[in-house]
Amino acid sequence: MYSEKVMDHFQNPRNVGEIENASGVGTVGNAKCGDIMRMFLDIDENGIIRDVKFKTFGCGAAVATSSMATELVKGKTIREAMQVTNKAVMEALDGLPPVKVHCSLLAEEAIHAALWDYAEKNHIVIEGLKKPKSDIHEGEEEEEY
């Protein structure tokens, strides 16, 4: 069902984890549809993405697209990171099954959400960046386990 690259990124995901005091953090998706991605960016004063980490709740494709997205933006400028589309993520993974295309969209959204957070914190405007849809936990009650 999955390409070798997807399986590789699922089994050995790159850049899993958190960044403390990250320059920007974005969380997208919701538990209802079964995928949540959180992206952490460390951006230096020249606007270069020095480091990136992610955490994902979701299926094999969700983990693999998150992992690939982090690879594609690491070391890049903000402008370059803005060019990382869901299509680019999918191509880099040698494709996804049709029902999993939404996972790659989520990966693109996660990068954008983290950049949006960075832009807000630093009171700057990133060209072409729109406010992320913040549907995580929306309408869900507080949970106790």
């Binding site: 538990a31 995928d35 994902t56 709740f57 299926c59 969700a62 386990y145």
Partner: protein, 393 residues
């Protein structure tokens, strides 16, 4: 390989294959013909009918062979609705039925029937008081599954049968998961129609039967030739029917031993998981449960990821997560027992057979522990949960 998906399908037993083979190669005649090659096949079909009738306490003329559980369910519901619509157009079923029932009910709703979908409690049991309250003067059919395919809960079929009988309402049960696994007697249970399938009890795929109590005016679903006493057209699947018979004979012979072994393995697996993997929940009733069924939700993680990682260790299981259903919604059964979406996404079903061993289950739990931890370590939901707990301290 460790196979823990026996509710999906089972390995065809060697004695079943052996019984079937001559009906492909030597006794391949059409049962409707008059020469001896054909009459030999006809004899085999009727012998199978007797065996299966005896297995559920029915008469042989009450057993009709079909292409499996889905056809039997479609036949029972569509044709009972059609036959009794002059009496009323109300049907009662449950929210946890197989899609063969639920989607047939949706079809009937489009045809002008009204369907009440009974809820279930947190263990998946139908509430008998709710059932009684749902009965109306125009109720013509109650259809409740014998045992649930996902969570293994066994429904109070005898009690439901008694209620249906008392009100003069037809009672159908989808026994696909129960037939050959637990004893069934249609008279004791007041069941009027019962669906079953061959491949869930080590028989072949593509064959099943519908029990129809004599006297019921059920017409054909499949029109054509005069097979199955004019009620189900199409040349009989003779090898399949012979295989279904062999599987039934085998299932009855080993039932007691199989149930004891599977129950022990099941309880061992449940106990180890509950003891060793935190933040999990057993889905389904603890004791009113199919002997081979284990279903857990692991919080903060998603089922398909677990399945792929288990598969890499050679372990076959299944999940009620959306990613495995082909839609964005997780299992309707898990939502019906009150699970939140993320709990339903994190479900894992392991259905055992008598051939599994404790050693296999030890290997499964050892790997499952690691897999769950690995996925939790990359889960933002787990991160939020841990941080919330720390901030409380």
């Amino acid at each position: 390989m460790i196979y823990l998906d026996n509710a999906a399908t089972t390995k065809t037993a060697p004695e079943v294959v052996e019984a079937m083979l001559p009906y492909f190669t030597e006794n391949y005649g059409n049962p409707s013909t008059i020469y001896s090659l054909g009459s030999g096949a006809k004899k085999a079909v009727n012998q199978a009918r007797r065996t299966i009738a005896a297995a559920i306490g029915a008469k042989q003329e009450e057993i009709y062979f079909t292409a499996g559980g889905s056809e039997s369910d479609n036949w029972a519901l569509k044709c009972a609705a059609e036959a009794y619509e002059t009496k009323g157009k109300h049907i009662i079923t449950t929210k946890i039925e197989h899609h063969a029932i639920l989607h047939t009910c949706e079809y009937l709703e489009k045809k002008g029937f009204e369907v009440t979908y009974l809820g279930v409690d947190k263990d998946g049991l139908v509430d008998l008081e709710e059932l009684k309250a749902a009965i109306r003067p125009d109720t013509i059919l109650i259809s409740v599954m014998f045992a649930n395919n996902e969570i293994g809960t066994i429904e109070p079929i005898a009690e439901i049968g008694a209620i249906a009988r008392e009100h003069g309402i037809l009672f159908h049960t989808d026994a696909v998961q129960a037939f050959g696994q637990i004893p069934i007697n249609v008279d004791e249970l007041n069941v009027d129609m019962l669906s079953a399938s061959g491949h869930k009890l080590n028989g072949p795929k593509g064959v099943g039967f519908l029990y129809i109590r004599s006297g019921l005016k059920l017409r054909s679903l499949i029109h054509g030739g005069a097979q199955e006493r004019n009620r189900r057209a199409g040349t009989e699947n003779v090898p399949g029917i012979v295989g279904l018979e062999a599987a039934t004979t085998r299932a009855l012979r080993i039932m007691e031993e199989k149930t004891a072994k599977e129950t022990e393995l099941r309880n061992y697996l449940i106990e180890r998981i509950e003891k060793e993997i935190p933040y999990c929940r057993l889905n389904g009733h603890r004791t009113k449960r199919l002997p081979g069924n284990v279903n857990f939700s692991f919080l903060f993680i998603e089922g398909e990821s677990v399945l792929i990682m288990l598969d890499m260790k050679g372990i076959c299981a299944s999940s009620g997560s959306a990613c495995t259903s082909g839609s964005l919604d997780p299992s309707h059964v898990l939502l019906a027992i009150g699970l939140k979406h993320e709990e339903a996404h994190g479900s894992l079903r392991m259905t055992l057979s008598e051939e599994n061993t404790k050693e296999e289950l030890d290997f499964v739990v050892d790997n499952l522990k690691e897999i769950v931890q690995k996925l939790r370590n990359m889960s933002p939901l787990y991160e939020d949960f841990i941080k919330k707990n720390q901030s409380r301290k």
